[in-house]
């Protein structure tokens, strides 16, 4: 092999070796820098530009390293330099090689070729590869291994695309991705309530049907969100956590009617529970003002003169959508079964669309003639009001009570009046009004000295007798209302009765000016009661459960309680809540976050059971703990609720001996 060929061959091998070494070192630096960038990004919160620039810096480091080493190893690409490098490695050549390849000594190169041929350059190249390429390859493998050992989600989190995201602070990905938490609460469209932005929400209280979107930073992998229902046998639901917003995102349609809470988990991290408290849209309430009561009309010359005036007062907690008067007109043909002479006509009048107002008035007027009534016909009329609630089964629609207006038959004129008696409270009102007028008149006469003392006293005492009768009527109303004392009397009726007692006493001693304020107070109270008693709220009835175990005699016999046995003061659920409350309070000193979580679960459970006082007290206590204030007062109130009020035994305990 000639000297020139030898150098050329060595140059090819050497350039490959040194080029590989440069590339391997560059790769090693690249992977190492990327791994470092990932770890920095994962554990240290950084400004957005810095965080996003880390991978770019890593790539530039790798490329720069390659460029630097290629420059450093540039001799390997130069023919002369390679020849000198061979001379350096093989001093026995005594510059025969560089002389042989020198163009100036071209003619004498054949002299040096045998000398050059004696030296093998392959070991030199191998040695160079051993010194340069192998360490570089090792470094590359090690750096790549470190990089690929880092979890995939962390590696993906530092995409180069982040560079173009404008100024947001990036969270430490490996830290708690559940903090901070932001939310967007969108009430149902029909409510026209504004969208709310939430920051670190603890309780989300919104209309049923609202949509809640919670977002946090970081990728969604490994984050779980469950919706749980404490105290109820409802299975927890796993909510889907997806990428979106500023990182991860979870959506919840608040279609439940019961409270619940969201539990968040991110590997070993948690965050305080978020209470979901759906507010139910109440059905609208409608009070039929006109016609005021059921009545019977009589025809004159085959016609019904006058008009039917309809009026209803409407209310809703969110907004009224529309309202209408529904009428059914029944022919009173008599005869049983499906006789052909009995018909019902249904009609709707006075329909009015509302624009979501909370209160409203529905009015309509029509002539009796337009209803084409005949003797014996009956008109049933009621007002119906709708709200826009799309989430309830039977609410969303409110009814007034139904009034019946009957057209008397001609044969009925001489018979008993079939008008139903007005409600007792109305009767009392009429008499009371007359009593007030009489008392005012007598008082005026006395004040103007237009009546002698004796007749004044006599008259006043007579009015006292009437007053006592009114009081007796009110007592009767109270009896009706309470079902003979089964439930508490309406406070307005109690006020009316007590005021009437004062009025009677004053009238009996001829102090009309003292009696009058009491009469006014009684009148106002009974009028209030009379008005509100006409409200007719349609809804689901309270269902009293039957104690099946008691009926079947399969349950525990609680009748044999002795005076040594502590009576269970409260229901089973409340006893269990007491126990968990005690545990939570005991935890307060050692594990505040755990205690707050337990108190929150109790709060949600109490909301579901409508223990509103307890829920409020627990909420206040949690707020106080979070604000580093003393929660004792709130906790005390909660405990008072759970344990019930202290009771006093009015009788001796039952004998507890054996029969």
């Amino acid at each position: 092999m000639k000297a020139v060929e030898r150098v050329s061959q060595t140059k090819r091998s050497l350039s490959m070796v040194m080029g590989s070494a440069a590339v391997f070192w560059g790769g090693a630096i690249l992977f190492g820098a990327l791994a470092l960038a990932v770890l920095i990004r994962a554990y240290i919160p950084l400004p957005a530009m810095v965080g996003a620039a880390l991978p770019v810096i890593a790539i530039l480091s790798g490329v720069g390293t390659i460029a630097y080493l290629l420059w450093k190893y540039r001799f390997a690409w130069k023919f002369d330099s390679v020849a000198l490098w061979i001379e350096e490695k093989a001093p026995q050549l005594r510059y025969a090689l560089v002389t042989a390849i020198d163009p100036r000594f071209k003619e004498s190169s054949s002299i040096f070729d045998p000398i050059v041929a004696k030296v093998d350059t392959a070991p030199f190249v191998k040695e160079a590869a051993k010194k340069s390429t192998l360490p570089a390859l090792g470094a590359l493998i090690a750096a790549a291994a470190i990089f690929f050992f880092i979890p995939k989600d962390l590696r993906q989190a530092i995409g180069i695309g982040d560079l173009f995201k404008p100024g947001e602070e990036t969270a430490a990905v490996m830290g708690n991705r559940l903090v901070p938490l932001y939310g967007t609460l969108t009430p149902p469209a029909y409510s026209k309530l504004p969208v709310q932005q939430l920051e670190e929400p603890t309780t989300v209280s919104s209309l049923q049907g609202s949509n809640l979107v919670l977002t946090g930073k970081g990728n969604p992998d490994g984050i779980t969100v469950t919706q749980e229902y404490p105290g109820l046998s409802v299975e927890p639901k796993n909510l889907e956590v997806v990428a979106g917003g500023q990182g991860w995102m979870v959506s919840l349609a608040m279609t439940d009617s019961i409270p619940s809470y969201l539990r968040f988990r991110d590997r070993q991290y948690t965050r305080p529970l978020v209470i979901i408290d759906p507010v139910l849209d109440q059905p609208p309430v409608v009070k039929l003002l006109l016609p005021m009561r059921d009545t019977t009309l009589r025809m004159k010359d085959g016609k019904l003169p006058g008009r039917l005036e309809l009026s209803a007062d409407l209310r809703d907690d969110i907004g009224i959508s529309r309202a209408v008067f529904e009428m059914s007109i029944a022919s009173g043909g008599g005869g049983g079964g499906v006789d052909a002479n009995y018909e019902i006509r249904d009609t709707v009048v006075g329909s009015r669309v509302f624009n979501g107002e909370k209160t409203g008035r529905l009015e309509h007027s029509l002539t009796w003639a337009s209803l084409k009534l005949d003797e014996g016909h009956q008109v049933f009329v009621r007002a119906v009001v709708y709200d826009n609630n799309g989430y309830a089964r039977v609410v969303g629609k409110g009814y007034s009570e139904t009034r019946t207006i009957r057209v008397a038959t001609s044969a009925e004129y001489d018979t008993l009046n079939v008008n139903p008696a007005p409600p007792s409270a109305d009767t009392a009102l009429v008499t009371l009004r007359m009593l007030i007028i009489a008392t005012e008149k007598l008082d005026t006469l006395w004040q103007k000295k237009q009546i002698e003392k004796k007749p004044f006293q006599d008259s006043s005492q007579k009015l006292g007798g009437v007053s006592e009768k009114v009081r007796a009527t009110i007592n009767r109303i109270i009896d009706e209302q309470t079902g003979g004392g089964e439930i508490d009397a309406d406070p307005r009726l109690v006020l009316a009765r007590d005021s009437m007692w004062s009025a009677s006493r004053s009238l009996f001693i001829a102090e009309t000016w003292v009696a009058l304020p009491a009469l006014y107070a009684a009148y106002k109270a009974i009028q209030d009661y009379s008005n509100t008693a006409r409200y007719y709220i349609r809804g689901i009835l309270r269902v009293e459960p039957v104690n099946i175990d008691r009926v079947r005699l399969t349950g525990k016999d609680s009748a044999n309680v002795t005076d040594r046995t502590a009576r269970a003061m409260t229901g089973v659920d409340r006893v269990q809540m007491q126990r968990r409350y005690g545990e939570a309070v005991r935890m307060l000193k050692t594990d505040t976050a755990g205690a707050v979580e337990r108190l929150t679960m109790l709060q949600v459970e109490s909301m579901g059971k409508r223990y509103n006082d307890l829920a409020r007290s627990l909420g206040d206590a949690i707020g106080a703990v979070n604000d580093k204030k003393d929660p004792s007062q709130h906790l005390l109130r909660a405990r008072q609720f759970l344990e019930g009020n202290a009771g006093v035994l009015t009788t001796l305990p039952s004998w507890s001996g054996s029969w």
């Binding site: 059914s328 029944a330 008599g334 005869g335 049983g336 079964g337 499906v338 009995y342 019902i344 249904d346 009956q378 049933f380 089964r393 039977v394 139904t402 349609r538 689901i540 009835l541 269902v543 009293e544 459960p545 039957v546 104690n547 099946i548 009926v551 079947r552």
Partner: protein
Amino acid sequence: MVDDFVFATAIYDSGDWESAPLLPQNLIDSIAQYTALPVAPSGIYVALGTEEIFNYPFVWFTGHLPVRFTDQERTNLKKFVERGGFMVIDDHNHDIDGHFHKTVLEEISRTFGADALQPIPKDHEIYHCFFKFKDGPPATQHELNGWGDQLIHKELFAVTINGRIGILYSNKDYSSEWNFGPKTKEFMQVDPTKFGINMIVYALTR
């Protein structure tokens, strides 16, 4: 696993469906007392116009006021009966000249055909499937006291599909007769709710 029997009361758009609020717990108490049927301690109110009605094999339906079904209610009632449901429609007015009676009959005719509602004989299975009532349906206090239409109705009516009662119609006003707290039965010589057991047993076993 057998689900507990749930006593359902129908909600319908017109009329006063809630007029017998104590009846469900009274019959639930009787079921617990006389039978071994697994029974839920609380009844439920379910809207006839919703799909939910199909979850309940036995539904009580009563009221005083005129009844007008919506199209959905009519469709659901037909489906309910065709799928094997059993509905008791009880005239709370106990008055064949009353609005409830007339309008309900009209609605039944409209839904199932003019001749669908037929009287049931005294030896019908419903009168002996649990307790024995050899004279047919037991009379109510309201009938015996001459209230309402002043008649003692000797028979009940039914819409029968495939040999099985789908709608049992009564003018006897069991809704008044049984509308009291269960504990009151302790003071009664004869428990008037026994026929209610027959209705439920028939509905669940035939």
